[in-house]
Every structure is written in structure tokens, then in C-alpha cells.
């Protein structure tokens, strides 16, 4: 990098400005000279043309008369008269009777103005007068004029440039150099010292620049001071943040440990509950066989016990499933199968629920859907929950299951004609241990785990469950399973 203090002529602003100014002036001068040449040329040409027009007006009639009368001497004298007109260099007469006379010398072809005048007497064409006006004088005059003009302009430009250079040096460049020198010494360590070139009173743009630079120095000084304080504060904050992060990490580890312990506990407890429960069910069945005919009233009581035990068993299964889902150990078994094959086992399970609730069942399968691609076990699990719920909450009504194509997937809809769900309860429907109406929970047994489990399963399968319901008019739960239509044949 060059030392800015060296090579003074290279960085001389005044000299460069003047150089440019001289170039521009020279260009303008050349341009104006060209325009002048053009105008002068037009003027001279017009003069020559006027001379030719004058010939037409003043000489042609006489020439025609003398030529008509074969007054050849007179004709020649008249041609000499034409030759004496301004700018005329040559006069040539070509008669229709074969004569050809020329007076004067033809100018150079590119510097001549030629006018041809037909000479007539009445209808008779007598000949043609060719007058050549010379523009040689005009050209000579033009070049003299242009040369003088350019020389004059060059002198004026040089003189003005020299004078301006002195003025510019005094008014601008010398002050800029001082300002530059002062700014060059301005470092971090010198920010607290004012610039030497700052004027007392602003007189022009350079004064304003010096003042602005000094204000910038002050601004920088303030900025640096503020920056140091901020740096200290940031360092303190960083320490706090590290401590907080550490605490958070520990809390997370504790939470995960607690969750794992909860899952392990739930799993172990469920297994522990399942064994006595199975024995209760088995025992109840054995007693029921003997009481069925001997004591019908006791049999009915025993049947209610068995149903309660079954409900409990179902709740425990649901709880185990939820625990599996939470721990992320559930895997899907995707297969292609016929919708009828999918739904037949469900209908078997549905029959006792329908008999108990007194509901009619209707199944609608879209005829174009001959195969579906999904996990049949999990799908049946969801649909069984939905159908079981429908049976539980609907008495002597209708349960309707339909299967329809839905884009690249399918849509199962379970519709009932039950009491419906209030709108304010819909958003809590898929939370675990929640039923729409606490009253209903008591009227209809159930843990409230079923919909939460179904919701989790549907999401694992990439789908979702939507519910529409109106109090007094029934509900409709729709399971959407995208991608459940086989892509191949």
C-alpha cells in the first residue's frame, strides 16, 4: 500500500479537477468550433447560392435573347459578366446547336456548387448554362477562422486553468491536506483530543466537514465507553446463563428418571393386577355354571361381577398400551388385505355389545375399495374402541360404520344416534381419563382411556381422529388414515 503522504502530484485533487475541466473545455471548444464551421459553411454556401440565384434573375434573360439571335459575341460577353459574379469559377454554355464554350476554371469537384440553367426562347430549348461556383475561398476562410478560434480558446483555457489552480489550492486542497493530516493522527488512544483543523466558525463545506469529523470523534469516544460497559455486563449475564442451563439439564434428567420409574411401576402393577383378575374371572365362570339353573338371581349378580372384572381387565390393557406408547416401543405391522377380512372379527366382538344396548348396526363399504394397506390389529383396536363407545352411549338406536376412500388413504366413520357431546367438552375428549360428561361416566362405565389411546394410535399410524357431534342428535367419529390405499395392483 502506498504511503498517503508520498507522491503529491498523484493525489493532487486540484490538478485532476483542472485536468478534467480542461478536457471538458477543450471538448466544448472543439464542438463549438465545429458548430461555427457548420454555420459559416452554410452562410458561405448560401452566399454562393444567392449569387447563382442572382445570375438566374439578372443574366439568363439576356443570354437567352442573345443566344436566340445568334449574337455570339454578346453571348460571350454576357458569360464573362456571369463569370464576374461572386463565387463563380466557371461558366459553360452548351447549345443545342452543338457549340460548347467554357470560361474560367472549374473548381475541385468536392468544393463546387453547380447550377444548370436551361436556356429557352418560347418553347425552343436553346441550350444549357452550367455555372460552377467555387467554395475554395469559403473553405480557406473557414480553416483560418477555426484555427484562430481554437488557438484563442486554448490560450484562454490555459490561463484560466492556471489561475483556478492557484485559487483551488488556497481554498480547497491545502485545507483538505491539513484535515487529512489531523484525521490520520486520530487513533483510539487519541480520541479524547480534539482535531487541530476544526474551525471556530463554519464558512463553507470543508469547515462543516471538519466539524462533522470532530463530532464523529466525540461520538466514537462515547461509543467506545458504552461498549466497554456493555461488554462487562454481557460477561456477567453469560455466567448466569451457564448456571441456569446446568440446572435445567439436571431437572430434565430427574424428570426422565421419574417418568421411566412411573412407566416401570405402571407395567409391573398392571401385570400384578392382571393375574388375580384372571383368577376372579375364571372363578366367577365356574360358579356361574352351577348357579345358572339353581339360583337365577345369584347368577345375574355373578354376571355383573364378571362384566366388572372384564371392564377392569380392559382398563389394565389400555393402561399397558399407553405405557408402551409413551415409551415408544410400539411397532406397526402393515399388510394389504380385504376390507371384509379387516372388519369381520370386529363384527364378532360387536354382537354382545349390540345385544346389551338394543342398537341396530349398519355397515357400508365403498365398492371400489377392494383392498386396504394398514396395520389391521391397531386399526381394529381403534374401531373397536369407537364402536364400543357408541354402543355404550346409545340405547335402542343405530350404529353405523362406513369405509370410504379419502385421497390416497381411507376414512372410517362411526356414527351413532346417541345423546351427543356438548361443544365445550369436545376439546377434552382425547385427553386420558376424561369423559365428556362426568355424569355420563357414572351412568356408563369406562375409564376414559379409550379415546386417548385411539388418538395416540391414529397419530402413530400417520392419521387422525375427528369428531362431530350435536347434543340430542348423535356423534360421528372419523378415522383418517392417509396412504392406506395400496399403490400397486
Amino acid at each position: 500500500m502506498k504511503d498517503p503522504a508520498s507522491a503529491p502530484w498523484e493525489r493532487a485533487l486540484g490538478l485532476r479537477v483542472l485536468l478534467w475541466m480542461s478536457v471538458v473545455c477543450a471538448l466544448f471548444s472543439g464542438l463549438s468550433a465545429l458548430v461555427q464551421v457548420g454555420l459559416e459553411y452554410r452562410l458561405r454556401t448560401r452566399e454562393a447560392e444567392q449569387s447563382l440565384q442572382l445570375i438566374e434573375r439578372s443574366h439568363l434573360g439576356g443570354l437567352e435573347n442573345s443566344l436566340w439571335a445568334f449574337e455570339l459575341e454578346l453571348t460571350r460577353a454576357q458569360m464573362e459578366g456571369v463569370l464576374k459574379m461572386p463565387h463563380v469559377a466557371q461558366v459553360e454554355l452548351i447549345t443545342t446547336t452543338g457549340e460548347r464554350w467554357a470560361l474560367g476554371v472549374a473548381p475541385r469537384r468536392e468544393r463546387e456548387l453547380v447550377r444548370r440553367f436551361p436556356l429557352r426562347h418560347g418553347d425552343t430549348l436553346l441550350g444549357e448554362l452550367v455555372v460552377r461556383a467555387s467554395l475554395e475561398d469559403a473553405y480557406a476562410h473557414l480553416w483560418r477562422h477555426v484555427a484562430l478560434n481554437l488557438a484563442g480558446n486554448a490560450f484562454v483555457i490555459c490561463f484560466t486553468a492556471a489561475a483556478l489552480l492557484l485559487v483551488f489550492r488556497r481554498l480547497v486542497t491545502r485545507r483538505i491536506e491539513r484535515l487529512a493530516a489531523s484525521t490520520r493522527t486520530l487513533g483510539l488512544e487519541a480520541l479524547d483530543r480534539p482535531l487541530v483543523a476544526v474551525p471556530v466558525r463554519i464558512q463553507d463545506e470543508l469547515d462543516a466537514l471538519a466539524v462533522a469529523l470532530d463530532e464523529m470523534r466525540k461520538g466514537l469516544l462515547d461509543g467506545f465507553r458504552g461498549l466497554s460497559q456493555a461488554q462487562d455486563e454481557i460477561r456477567g449475564l453469560n455466567g448466569d446463563l451457564t448456571q441456569a442451563n446446568e440446572a435445567l439439564r439436571e431437572a430434565k434428567e430427574r424428570a426422565e428418571t421419574a417418568s421411566r420409574a412411573k412407566s416401570a411401576f405402571l407395567a409391573r402393577m398392571s401385570h400384578e393386577l392382571m393375574t388375580p383378575l384372571n383368577q376372579i374371572v375364571l372363578g366367577t365362570d365356574l360358579v356361574a355354571e352351577t348357579l345358572a339353573t339353581s339360583d337365577p338371581a345369584a347368577f345375574q349378580d355373578l354376571r355383573r361381577v364378571r362384566e366388572a372384572a372384564f371392564t377392569l381387565k380392559e382398563m389394565i390393557n389400555d393402561t399397558l398400551d399407553l405405557v408402551d406408547l409413551d415409551s415408544g416401543t410400539v411397532t406397526l405391522q402393515l399388510v394389504d388385505l380385504n376390507p371384509t377380512a379387516l372388519l369381520s372379527p370386529l363384527q364378532e366382538r360387536l354382537r354382545p355389545w349390540l345385544a346389551t344396548s338394543g342398537n341396530r348396526f349398519r355397515l357400508d363399504l365403498a365398492p371400489e375399495l377392494d383392498r386396504v394397506h394398514l396395520d389391521p390389529g391397531r386399526t381394529r383396536q381403534i374401531l373397536a374402541k369407537l364402536l364400543h363407545n357408541a354402543c355404550k352411549f346409545t340405547r335402542n338406536g343405530e350404529i353405523h360404520l362406513s369405509l370410504q376412500p379419502d385421497g390416497d388413504g381411507v376414512r372410517f366413520a362411526v356414527r351413532d344416534s346417541g345423546p351427543g357431546i356438548p361443544a365445550e367438552s369436545l376439546h377434552r375428549l382425547f385427553e386420558a381419563f376424561s369423559q365428556a360428561d362426568e355424569g355420563l361416566t357414572r351412568a356408563y362405565d369406562g375409564s376414559g382411556l379409550g379415546l386417548a389411546l385411539s388418538h395416540h394410535l391414529a397419530r402413530i399410524m400417520g392419521g387422525r381422529i375427528e369428531v362431530e357431534s350435536e347434543v340430542g342428535r348423535g356423534s360421528c367419529f372419523t378415522l383418517h388414515l392417509p396412504g392406506a390405499r395400496p399403490s400397486g395392483p
Binding site: A69, F70, T95, T124
Partner: protein, 351 residues
Amino acid sequence: MAFGALAHAERPMRVLFVHPRNVDGFWEDVSSAMGEAARQLGIHLEVETAPRWPTERLPQVERWLTGAHRPDYLITTTNRLMGAQEIALAERLGVPVFLVNAGMLERDRSQAGAPRERHKGWLGEMLPDEARAGRELAEALLEEARRRRLLGGNLPVEMLALGGQEVTSSGVGRNQGLLAFVEGQSEVRLPQVVPSHYNPDLARSRVRPMLRRYPEARMLWCASDQVALAAWESASQEGRSLILGGINWHPAAIQAVQQGRMTATVGGHVLEGAFALVLLFDHHHGVDFASEGTVWRTRMLVLNRRNVDRLAPLLVTRSWHRLDFRALSRVKNPALRRHDFSLAPFLGRAR
């Protein structure tokens, strides 16, 4: 005047003839014819050429009229508008004047009036009928064209003309005669009359471009013989054969008519000076022609193939001695009732 005649009975009658500067020998011919007439009539004739410039002319004429040989009569020509002043001068000096050949232009005529009106000393004038000459020359050319069977086509035959000097009475008159003749003719077309100023050199240079401008022209009417001869040369060089004619009875032109190069030459006014001498001779001897008229017009004669061979021997050589001028004088021939200067019979009586 009768006294004057008696007073000079012992010495011969003296006449001064002043003519303009000679251009083509015409005035020499006039002078030689006058000399023969003077010889035959016993007149002492002095012939002088007038100075070129008008301002010199009057003082010179005055010197001639007041000198030791003061003439009894002055025969002169008008020139450059000096006619009226010269007549006045002669009258002042008591010398009777007779004008020949060149008449006064209109402006002078209105100043001077007719002979013997304002100026009693202006006895008379004898001028050629120029218009008639111009017309008769045109007629002769047309007759030749007819003879050569050039007429009768769909278009009129073109005739060109080399006119005389527009500022002389002869030039004006001859041109007028030509134009008057052509105007009434459907067989002839005259596209242009080109001035020749009676200058053969000028005529020579103009004929060539004229013929190129009018390639169909077959006839050329010339205001003088010299012009016609020069025109013939140029036309020949151009390879053109023209029906050509002039005025003046120039010897070379008469020969050209004989040889068939020219069709006609009109003339006879060369004898006007001689005829004027006859009139003044009679006046001097007591027979004044005023009763017959003071203004005489010479009807010129056309020389063409019909009469040229007969008259050429007389006219080419200017053999005026073969003419009998005394036979024209009423003093010499008291039986004559009138002066008759008709050319054809006069020339026909040549010895």
C-alpha cells in the same frame, strides 16, 4: 433659281455627292454610275466620303459647301439621324439638297417634314422601296421552291432570314417586306429573323448554328448579297443546299445567280445617284420635277435565272457607259412628259 441657272450657264453645273464610309463597295458603285451620268450630262461631280462621327460631319459638310468649289447642288444620304440638320445647314448656305438611297427615320421625318415643305432648299429625295425589295426577294425564293417541287406537303416549308441592321431604314424596310409577305403565306413558315448587321463574317458564324437549330429549313432570305454569299459558304460547309437570295446586285452575287448558287439578287438602287443627277440636271436647266413629285421611290428589280444571263454582262462589270442617261432627261428629250426611271426598260435599252 432661274437666275442661278443663267448665271452658271458658262460653266458646267457643279454637284457634290457625300456618301457614308464604304463598307462593301456599294457607294463606289453608286459613285461610278453617277460619274458616268455626269459625264454624259456634262456635270462636274465631286464625290466625298463623310467623316465617320456625326459631330465631325456637319462642320466638314459646311467647309465643302463654302469652299472655292462651292457646288450648285448637294446630293447626300442621311446617316445616324443627321439628315434634318444637314438639310438645314445646306439651306442656310444656299445650296439645294437632294437625298438619295437612305431615307430619314421617323423622328427626323417629323422634324423636317416633306421636301419643299419646311425646307424649300430640300428639293426632293429618291429612296429605294426597301419593303418591296424584301417582299420580292421572298417571292423569288418561294417561286424557286415551287419550281423545285418542295411545296405542297403537309407542313409549310421553313424559310430562315438573316436580317439587316435594325437601326437603318433599309434594314427595317427589307425586314418589314419579308414579314408582310410571309404573314399572308400558308406554304411558308418563318421561325426566326436573325440579325446580320450586313456583316458577312457575322453571317458566316451564325448560319451554322441556325441550320442546326432548324434542320428542316430549305430557304434563306438575306438582307444583302454579301451576307448571302457568306451564308452560302457556311451552308455548303454544313452540307446543306439552300434556296438563297440577297439584295444589292453585288457582282459576285449576280455571278452566283448565274451559276445557280444563289436563286436571286434584288437591286437597282445603285443607280439612284445617277437618276438624281438627271433630275437635278433638268432642275438646273429649268425643268423642275416637283410637278411629278418630290419623293421618288425606286422599285428594285429581281435578277434571277430568267433575266440574269441577259443583264449580267452589264451589271457584273458595272459597264455604266452602256447605259444612256441622257435618254432619261426631259431637258435633253423635250418630248418626254414624265421622268421614268423603271429599271427593266432602262437596262433593256443598254447598248
